[in-house]
């Protein structure tokens, strides 16, 4: 907007230079990742590959790592769905009803999220065992739980921005609550739901600790855990595999973002409205 209104040429150039610098700074860490992943003789240090090959990617997209990819996908998708469904059923009444101190209450819930996962891992594990949930299902439930405070808070903010006149009109025409929600509120909230869904997806996709301690067989491990087999104390570091794995690992979130892009952009306007 500053640059948008009749800018002088000098300013346009300097703004473009600045943006160019931003792009370079943000993309440069990627260079090592990409160069190493296509280098058949990858050693880990920064070097331009003498020949390019996709063999590392072929290895990643088969066998154990492919299974881990699928495990990650199942966990992340299920968490995203569940978080969105549970959060919107709670955020709607929070937005529409007069609940005393509701903002304070919601922000206090958000503070729960400060508790590091490691602080509660023992009781989480115990409940998981008692309920027979030391499996992917349990991981999905605990990740949903961890996502909920922010999901409810942000969705409530979003619902607040939706004018209530339409709901009122639908009511006057005889719509039930369910019809009202299904045909009026949720379609208008697509963008907000998309943001919540996306945040839950990426956080579940990234999660290491809960799957690491809760899953009972390494066949069920997601990529966040499997990644460590590519380096570290017990393993042998294979940089080519590691980087190709990393790229495949990072890809779904980026892809999902671009699929949801239009919704997400408007969604962000809504979630950040009120303090």
């Amino acid at each position: 907007m500053i640059a948008g209104i009749r800018p002088s040429p000098a300013r346009t150039i300097s703004v473009n230079l600045l943006l160019g610098a931003v792009i370079i700074v943000w993309l440069s860490p990627m260079s090592w990742l990409i160069m190493t992943s296509v280098d058949p003789e990858a050693s880990g240090s920064f070097s331009v590959p003498s020949r390019i090959s996709l063999e590392h990617f072929a290895v990643v997209l088969s066998g154990t790592s492919l299974r881990q990819f699928i495990n990650s996908l199942v966990i992340a998708l299920a968490t995203a769905m569940l978080t969105t469904a549970v959060a919107c059923m709670a955020a709607y009444p929070f937005s529409r009803l007069k609940i005393p101190y509701k903002d304070t209450l919601l922000w206090s819930l958000a503070l729960l999220r400060i508790l590091p996962s490691t602080a509660i891992i023992i009781p989480v594990f115990l409940t998981g065992r008692v309920l027979g949930l030391l499996n992917a299902g349990g991981v999905v439930l605990i990740l949903t739980l961890m996502n909920l405070p922010f999901a409810i808070l942000l969705l409530k903010n979003f619902f607040d921005t939706i004018p209530t006149e339409l709901e009122e009109a639908a009511y006057i025409e005889g719509a039930t609550l369910t019809q009202n929600l299904l045909h009026v509120v949720f379609p208008l909230s697509r963008a907000g739901l998309a943001v919540i869904w996306f945040m839950a997806f990426t956080s579940a996709w990234n999660e290491f600790l809960f799957p690491f301690v809760m899953l009972r067989s390494d066949q069920e491990f997601p990529m966040a855990v499997g990644l460590y087999a590519a380096f570290g104390q017990y393993g042998t570091t294979d940089y080519g595999f590691l980087t190709a794995y990393s790229i495949i690992y990072a890809a779904p979130a980026v892809l999902v973002y671009f699929l949801l892009k239009r919704n997400l952009t408007t969604g962000f306007a809504g979630v950040g409205v009120k303090g």
Partner: protein, 297 residues
């Protein structure tokens, strides 16, 4: 029936409550976990050995030690510095400026910048740590492509500038969120307002300071609160990148807590750290909200 001005909800108490029930159950369970942490923070529960099965009540010992022993206060300072520079100055500041600059800018350029920011946000933490380490290592990109061709000595960035490095990597990671939020918020500002300021002869800085910032104050306040909460508990990227080192240079609270609870094995003390973290952030939040209200007055 229920306190609401919306007629269509007055008779829908039951379905609304039933719908919210799963969330209430989840949050209650979260509350139980938090309660467990509070309870444990008053004991000497350990990860291993006798104290793992027969913990005893130690009163406020763990909390007293937070202040009386080395480590916690240093970590509070490290975390505060880290949060201030990486989240508030970095993510919010850069995110806001980029949103303003790119508004109405060329579509393609904007697309590339957005993609770059997003990649930082979406790259998994461990992957990000490897990328930054590779960038900053003595035989990494910065040294081999920039510094040495320019005739500089090799610099051990992770050695000498660990804090700067984790701050920058977190800016790299988190700016996308603030940018997207502010960018979406700017869409709601009407163009006439800004143009009016332009006609009035306000320069870029004045338009920013006296028009845009006041207009977007609610979003700025919300976002500051959000990123502060997230950054204060930030763990995995720093953990993978430096493990809190060298020495204790980058030992933020979440790492200090992890080390005490899982490496030393003092779950009780670790829980006290976690509770203290919550209280600190709660205090900060109240401060923010107060500030926001004062500024509005």
């Amino acid at each position: 029936m229920i306190a609401t001005s919306h007629v269509w909800l007055r008779r829908s108490a039951a379905p609304l409550v039933v719908g919210a029930l799963p969330a209430i159950l989840f949050i209650m369970l979260f509350g139980v976990y938090a309660g467990w942490t509070i309870a444990v923070s008053f004991t000497d529960l350990a990860l291993l050995g006798r104290k793992a099965i027969e913990p005893s009540f130690v009163g406020f010992d763990n909390y007293v030690r937070l202040v009386a022993r080395d480590g916690f206060l240093g970590a509070v300072w490290t975390t505060t510095v880290f949060t201030f520079f990486s989240a508030i100055v970095g993510q919010c500041g850069i995110g806001f400026l980029l949103a303003v600059i790119l508004k109405g800018g060329k579509k393609r350029l904007r697309g590339i910048v957005e993609f770059s920011l997003l990649f930082g946000w979406l790259a998994p933490d461990v992957v990000a740590a490897f990328m930054w380490s590779a960038l900053a290592s003595p035989d990494g990109l910065l040294n081999t492509v920039i510094l040495r061709p320019l005739g500089f000595e090799r610099v051990h960035l992770l050695n000498l500038y660990a804090m700067e490095l984790v701050v920058i990597s977190n800016i790299w990671k988190g700016t996308a969120w603030s940018y997207l939020l502010f960018s979406a918020a700017l869409d709601t500002v009407s163009r006439e307002v800004v143009e009016a300021a332009y006609v009035d002869g306000a320069n870029a800085w004045q338009r920013l300071r006296y028009v845009l910032v006041p207009l977007l104050r609610p979003q700025i306040a919300t976002n500051l609160l959000l990123v502060t909460i997230w950054t204060y508990a930030f763990f995995s990227l720093i953990w993978a990148l430096t493990g809190g080192g060298p020495g204790r240079d980058t030992e933020v609270l979440s790492i200090y807590m992890y080390k005490q609870a899982f490496e030393v094995g003092k779950l009780g003390y670790g829980s006290a750290i976690a509770i203290a973290m919550m209280l600190i952030v709660a205090g900060l939040s109240v401060l923010y909200v107060r500030q926001g209200k004062d500024a509005l007055r």
